[in-house]
């Protein structure tokens, strides 16, 4: 089973963002489910599942207000790889040198749900995404450390 449905209780107020307790709870719950279910699967699939659990818990903690979390959840919900077609908003040409790499494009590919955004919104989502990612990483690190002790 997929850990993505491990969101048990409702989200408390999202005033503090990212809500670390919430993320921790979510993540640990997902981990437990992984633990219970997939003791037989290979290492790779486990790691993939764990990673997906991480992203899922993170996205769920972030809530649906964020475009990236929403897009992430959507991507995770459908397990099979399917090209996500989002309505493309007209992008204003950035004053970057066209010859060089369009960094905004690269960023769009990195941040989930970033393909349909204009530059301003993209920056906003990136900031939020980075915050959540950092929180998740720290969370996972501490869990790992506690486990390995």
């Amino acid at each position: 089973m997929e850990p993505k449905s491990c969101s048990g209780d409702g989200n408390p107020s999202r005033n503090l963002h990212p809500s670390k307790p919430l993320m921790a709870a979510n993540f640990l719950r997902c981990l437990s489910r992984i633990q219970q279910t997939a003791t037989n699967s290979s290492v790779g699939s486990r790691s993939r599942r764990i990673r997906r659990a991480a992203y899922a818990s993170m996205a769920y903690s972030a809530g649906h207000r964020r475009a990236w979390s929403w897009a992430l959840l959507r991507k995770l919900r459908c397990r099979r790889v399917r090209p996500v077609i989002l309505p493309r908003r007209p992008r204003i040409a950035r004053p970057q040198v066209v010859i060089e790499i369009d960094r905004a494009e690269v960023l769009r590919k990195l941040v989930p749900g970033g393909t349909g955004m204009d530059y301003c919104r993209l920056l906003e989502e990136t900031a939020d995404y980075i915050r959540c990612l950092a929180t998740q990483v720290r969370l996972m690190q501490t869990v790992t450390d506690s486990i390995s002790s």
């Binding site: 209780d9 921790a24 764990i50 960094r103 980075i130 990483v137 869990v143 450390d145 506690s146 486990i147």
Partner: protein, 480 residues
């Protein structure tokens, strides 16, 4: 001095009629010239006051003009008159021009202009005009004409408050006027008259050269390109005949251009013609928003000291990639401790279901201390049993760092010592943590068993600035 004064007055009169803006200054200059013509004592008040007005923009232009004067003035000899205004102006000019011209020439030129009576100047000017006209040197021609013309024009040059346009137009206006007035019998009239259209344009071409050069040299953004063009068009019109309208038009245009293109003093106006305001405003708003977002991002991303936008974006991209890679690696590394996860996670899962109900139940001190002792005893023997004991109580053990980090999740910077100790010792200190999500682990502090030899590459992503949580972050990438 009679003829000269008459001439000057005539010129002043014509100037008054023709040039609105320069009239006052011209009159003042007239008076000063008349006063100082014999005594070389021109009061410094007016020229310096006018110096103060437009010192920024016009000095370079005038300086340029004056700098090329020496060729014209060389014939007049090297008379140095202690004429304060030109010297003051010269100081300004030299300061403005940054050494483009030798400073002594303007003063010499000015002094010589002071010295010589108008008649001689006119004749000299006429001669020089002929010479220059033949040689086709427009700029020295223009300047020579301007400076030679009369003291008024000279002082107008030195009085930058008039602005370039009035100077140009004034000069152009002055050009034909004095030589056509009361100079009965002077053959300078003919060449001048013939010269006027061409000479005027040559004058303005000459004006344009130094103007543009000076402006480009000093990076005057205030409608520098527009002003000379306006000056030229205005002055060309003036050369044809309508000095007054040209002067006023160019003056007003220069004033408005100077006011609008600088930092918005009166109203923000786009420099390129009439760009529609809403668009520019929207564009500016958008740019501001983007700048704000970039600033917020800079706080999150380490090594955000880049000023360049592109490099900043690169940093952001790299950091996002790095974080995603960390998640991947951490998810892989967790597999090593799969066995140990079970009790911990089991506690939490069960706790998660039952913990919500017993939210604040176990917060009382007695139960906690008792539980603490129990768990501590159990921990000495076996971690698993301790875990199970807690599980039965609806509690869970969690590392201090996690608990503290979670409890202080609200925008408090985490504790670097704990994280660094984590990374260094690799030991998870089991301890106290209270999760508002319903998990209430006991208040425990203790030394956990030493961590197994997890070879770890500690990559410290030092975010030394405050995001929501992190002041410092130690990331252990374990080579499992």
């Amino acid at each position: 001095m009679q003829p000269s004064s008459r001439e000057m007055q005539g010129m002043a009169g014509s100037m008054n009629g023709g040039i609105s803006r320069s009239s006052a200054v011209a009159q003042i200059a007239l008076r000063e010239l008349q006063n100082g013509h014999g005594g070389q004592q021109i009061p410094n008040s007016v020229p310096q006051a006018s110096f103060d007005h437009g010192a920024s923009g016009h000095d370079d232009f005038l300086d340029q003009m004056l700098s090329s004067l020496p060729s014209s003035w060389a014939e007049l000899g090297n008379l140095k008159t202690p004429w304060d205004p030109p010297e003051a102006g010269q100081r300004l000019f030299s300061a403005g021009l940054a050494g483009e011209s030798s400073p002594e020439e303007p003063s010499a030129a000015a002094a010589e202009g002071m010295r010589y009576p108008l008649y001689d100047e006119s004749s000299l000017l006429a001669n020089r005009l002929r010479q220059h006209q033949i040689s086709g040197g427009s700029s020295p021609n223009g300047k020579g004409m301007m400076v030679h013309l009369d003291h008024q024009s000279q002082q107008q040059m030195l009085l930058p408050s008039l602005g370039r346009s009035p100077v140009a137009s004034g000069d152009s206006g002055l050009l034909p006027l004095p030589l056509t007035l009361g100079t009965g019998g002077y053959d300078v009239d003919a060449p001048f008259k013939s010269l006027n259209p061409t000479g005027g344009e040559g004058l303005f071409n000459g004006l344009g050269g130094p103007l543009q050069r000076a402006q480009s040299a000093f990076g005057h953004p205030q409608g520098g390109a527009s002003m000379p063009s306006q000056n030229f068009t205005a002055a060309a019109g003036a050369a044809a005949g309508g000095v007054g309208q040209a002067a006023s038009a160019s003056a007003s245009a220069s004033a408005s251009a100077g006011g609008g293109t600088g930092p918005p003093r009166q109203k923000v106006r786009a420099r390129r013609g009439q760009a529609t305001d809403p668009h520019s405003i929207a564009e500016r708003l958008r740019r501001e928003r983007i700048a704000d977002r970039m600033k917020a991002l800079q706080e999150l991303v380490p090594n955000a000291n880049k000023t360049d936008k592109a490099s900043m974006l690169d940093e952001i991209i790299d950091y996002v990639k790095f974080l995603q890679l960390q998640v991947k690696v951490l998810s892989m590394s967790r597999l090593g401790g799969a066995a140990a996860v079970a009790p911990l996670v089991a506690d939490i899962s069960s706790e998660g279901q039952g913990g919500a109900g017993s939210g604040g139940a176990n917060s009382s001190g007695d139960s906690l201390t008792v539980t603490e002792h129990q768990v501590a005893k159990l921990m000495e023997e076996d971690m698993g049993s301790a875990m199970q004991y807690l599980q039965g109580k609806g509690l869970c053990l969690m590392p201090i760092s996690l608990a503290s980090a979670i409890s202080t999740a609200t925008a408090c910077p985490p504790r670097p010592p704990s994280s660094s100790s984590l990374s260094s010792a690799g030991a998870g200190h089991l301890g106290h943590g209270i999760l508002p999500g319903g998990l209430h682990p006991p208040n425990l502090t203790g030394d956990a068993p030493a961590s197994p030899g997890v070879s770890a590459l500690t990559a410290q992503s030092a975010m030394a600035n405050g995001g929501a949580e992190a002041a410092k972050e130690a990331v252990t990438v374990s080579k499992a």
